[in-house]
Symmetry: C2
Subunit: 142 residues, 2 copies
């Protein structure tokens, strides 16, 4: 059952399983579309229990720190979040800015002399171009 799994992973991360925090985590696991903090806040408040704006931000920060959620690197002003599940790369649409998951595959690491004394944790790809919708639009005479 998903509920227990979420509860356990929160506790493993050293976080109490409060209703608000649970709701954020559950929403992220069910909606793999890289929602913004505002989207998460609004979604959670359409259900019970309610959560304040500050709490939503606090919980997102805590979840990121606990390693359960990732803040996705995209340009644009609003942070986007992603429950860490299956690894994947990201495709960002030049035109509409949507962020989509792309199947994971291993990527050649940088040569160690380029890395210097940095500590490498992970390597992620960002693809850019036009998403399916914007591609179709442009082909059919923009």
């Amino acid at each position: 059952m998903l509920a227990d799994e979420i509860k356990r992973s929160l506790e493993d991360g050293g976080l109490r399983c409060t209703p608000q925090r649970y709701a954020v985590m559950a929403f992220l696991m069910e909606h793999r579309g890289h929602p913004t903090a505002t989207e998460i806040f609004e979604a959670v408040n359409r259900m019970d229990p309610r959560s304040s704006r500050a709490t939503t931000y606090n919980n997102l920060r805590d979840l990121v720190q606990a390693g359960l959620v990732r803040e996705v690197a995209v340009e644009g002003r609003a942070a986007r979040f992603d429950a860490k599940g299956i690894r994947h790369h990201h495709f960002i649409c030049d035109q509409c800015g949507s962020v989509e998951d792309m199947e994971w595959y291993d990527v050649p690491k940088p040569p160690s002399d380029a890395l210097g004394t940095r500590t490498l944790r992970e390597c992620e790809l960002i693809f850019r171009g036009l998403c399916m919708k914007c591609s179709a639009q442009r082909r059919s005479g923009s």
Copy 2:
């Protein structure tokens, strides 16, 4: 001479070479450290000619559209910019958030069935981990 080169590249991009726009472009070419819009605005205003905040933002938008400048994909609130010159990947420090350039090397493209009808323009790598400074700090007993 750099000045002429900048002037020409602006005009190639269909943009007039105004003093304010020139200043933004010149600053980005001389400071390859992914400055934020505010940093660029402040730097430009330490010199002549002055530029308003709105103009700085407008020019950054125009330069990105013309393909001369890239908005870097990072998490964090403020957009960061980068004069497109030599291609490179990015290293983002988990701890201090700094963004550093990493030497370019080609990356295997996704299989076309994963891509579907998307149009791919480019593929960029994001490395995560600890930068040299934060790495050293942690080694010496945090």
